[in-house]
Symmetry: C2
């Protein structure tokens, strides 16, 4: 069985006004079920892991909400970061804590706020990655690109190794310009980097020690105190000193250059739910092509002569839409958003404007 690590951070600004600083997107049910993205992530892990082997790394602000949503997880499996230090510190702390329990454990890291269309196929792909990890590789699950997306990073892969699906990762690529993204799509050698990692904790920690010795020393010290009376003091002393850096940049790029990273291409309907437009693309529509999310959507939403809508009804008020196309309507207790789907990315700018206005209660 795999150890699963779920970094649960990020505010999901482009999903405002649903997603708020105090209640970010991973805590919301955004897939048509009553389960939050975080709960769906844990549910999806059932064939691969157990609650005892599932760890969530989250911020102080969300620790209680995470604890209440994931009652099946042991308390000590919810790692609370005293402050945000980016993904490397979060994942490395989880790896170090797991290593104290099982030094040769294989762990996978999976974001708390992604949607997977075909969970069974996803689990099969992760199993293939586990095989690579057992051989000592730092594995990623890359997503077969379906469009020249400029909002994601890419993995540049070599030719398949042997008969299996494994491919070496030659390089991690930043978010590309559109022409570059188009070339990637044509190349057949580029996958989306979905920040899904699978590795043996000893292999990862050795690579961390090589490339980021301070980070390695810090998380090892914290992990040694984990579950002891000294835990919080050690965390409070060491954590603020850790460098703020992503795991891609801190470890994976260097490891790829050293030939230690491989990937298995995934083709299971992955989506990072970056904005309401994307959300609409990944969820099932009604016969008119509208996606409706809400606790009691049948009673609360009245659509007429409308298509291509993404409607989120969260306040219990009636949301009525007439004669609209390709529009996002989000209704919450204190704010309503009406937005063209093609402008979904720019919801972030609205939140920035509210910040400037000092409307902290709304963001």
């Amino acid at each position: 069985m795999l150890y699963a690590v779920i970094p649960a951070g990020g505010s999901g600004t482009r999903l405002w006004p649903l997603s708020r600083a105090g209640h970010p997107k991973f805590l919301h049910p955004l897939t048509g079920s009553s389960a939050s993205l975080l709960q769906e992530t844990v549910r999806r892990l059932a064939p691969l892991s157990t609650p005892e082997r599932t760890l969530v790394v989250t911020g102080v602000a969300h620790a209680t909400a995470v604890a209440r949503q994931l009652t099946q997880l042991p308390e000590e499996n919810i790692l609370v970061e005293p402050s945000p230090r980016d993904s490397c510190a979060a994942i490395a702390l989880a790896a170090a804590v797991i290593a104290t329990r099982d030094p040769e454990a294989v762990m996978g890291s999976f974001a708390a706020d992604h949607v997977i269309g075909d969970p069974q196929r996803w689990a099969q792909t992760v199993r293939e990655a586990v095989h690579g990890a057992e051989q000592g590789l730092l594995m990623t699950v890359g997503i077969t690109p379906t469009r020249p997306e400029t909002g994601y990073g890419y993995l540049q892969t070599g030719d398949p190794v042997g008969d299996g699906p494994l491919r070496p990762v030659a390089e991690f690529k930043e978010k590309p310009a559109v022409e570059v993204a188009e070339a990637y799509l044509r190349s057949g050698h580029h996958l989306w980097n979905a920040s899904m990692f699978v590795w043996r904790v000893d292999v990862f920690l050795a690579e961390l020690a090589r490339q980021q010795p301070d980070l390695y020393a810090g998380v090892t010290a914290i992990a040694a105190a984990w579950g002891t009376p000294a835990q919080d003091e050690e965390l409070g002393r060491v954590w603020p000193t850790l460098p703020k850096i992503s795991v891609d940049y801190a470890v994976m790029e260097g490891a790829a250059a050293a030939g230690r990273v491989a990937t298995v291409p995934g083709d299971f309907g992955w989506n990072d739910v970056g904005d309401f437009h994307t959300l609409g693309d990944v969820l099932p529509t009604d016969p008119a092509g509208n996606v409706v999310l809400g606790t009691d959507a049948k009673a609360d939403v009245l659509l007429r002569d409308s298509s291509g809508l993404v409607v989120v009804s969260q306040s219990g008020r009636l949301v009525s839409v007439l004669g609209m196309r390709d529009t996002i309507v989000v209704d919450t207790a204190d704010a309503v958003l009406v937005c063209a789907r093609e402008r979904a990315q720019d919801v972030k700018a609205l939140v920035d404007e509210l910040k400037q206005r000092g409307e902290e209660a709304l963001i």
Copy 2:
């Protein structure tokens, strides 16, 4: 000084969810000021009439709201209809009550829920109508049409009489088909019927007696009891027996055929605020071409890269709109509407659907 009669009825279904059965459009501030359409109507009458000579005819459901909005009106000037009997009974009752106070009074009837762009010019036009009324004509104020509107009735006029602006009205025309409306527009002899009437009460009541003897007898009986202890009993006895008929159909058409109706063309920015699209056309826009109405619109509305909007913010929640064109957004405490401006007329269909669903609380 003129006696002014303001029939205040009609629910304004196409202005849902702002306008409700219990709080129809004439009670709402819809012109950017804090005054309701009803209050604006009374305010506009200041150069022509006095509160003592201003009468409102309204339904049981709205009597208290009217009384509270128009505190300057004497109590006995608010005539409460026990049940809706269409415009002839309402206007005839007012005429009969006025006749008991001043048998040769000139009265004007003006809807409670219209917007007038240029009130001074409007008052001047009404004064011209008063001159016609003093000569014993049933006067209307017709609106010079600016488009081939199919939603209004028309007045077919003859050539001007003498030097003044008066023209005889040959016929009242129903809402026309679009080709007919285009012909009316070209003819130069057709005006919109805005249901603005000016006449001597004795002339009107004589015409009522000739064409609608039952209605005449009924309202005369009620008016005789008005202000006496028998008022409510007489009203309760007679009112339900009165025919439900519009004043146009009951009196004006027949009077026109008899050569007793004339009109003065009006050109003062008239609008009947039939729906949110129309409302948007008549109110001042911000630099981006958006009309925003609300108690605290500056704080409650955040528009970005949007134009041609009509936004009504009534709940105190933040209404944010991004990248939208020609859209209506109405936010109330229990319902939100998002509607293409070109579909504004069809808001009525949404209300019908809510009725069918039994959602009485929302309509």
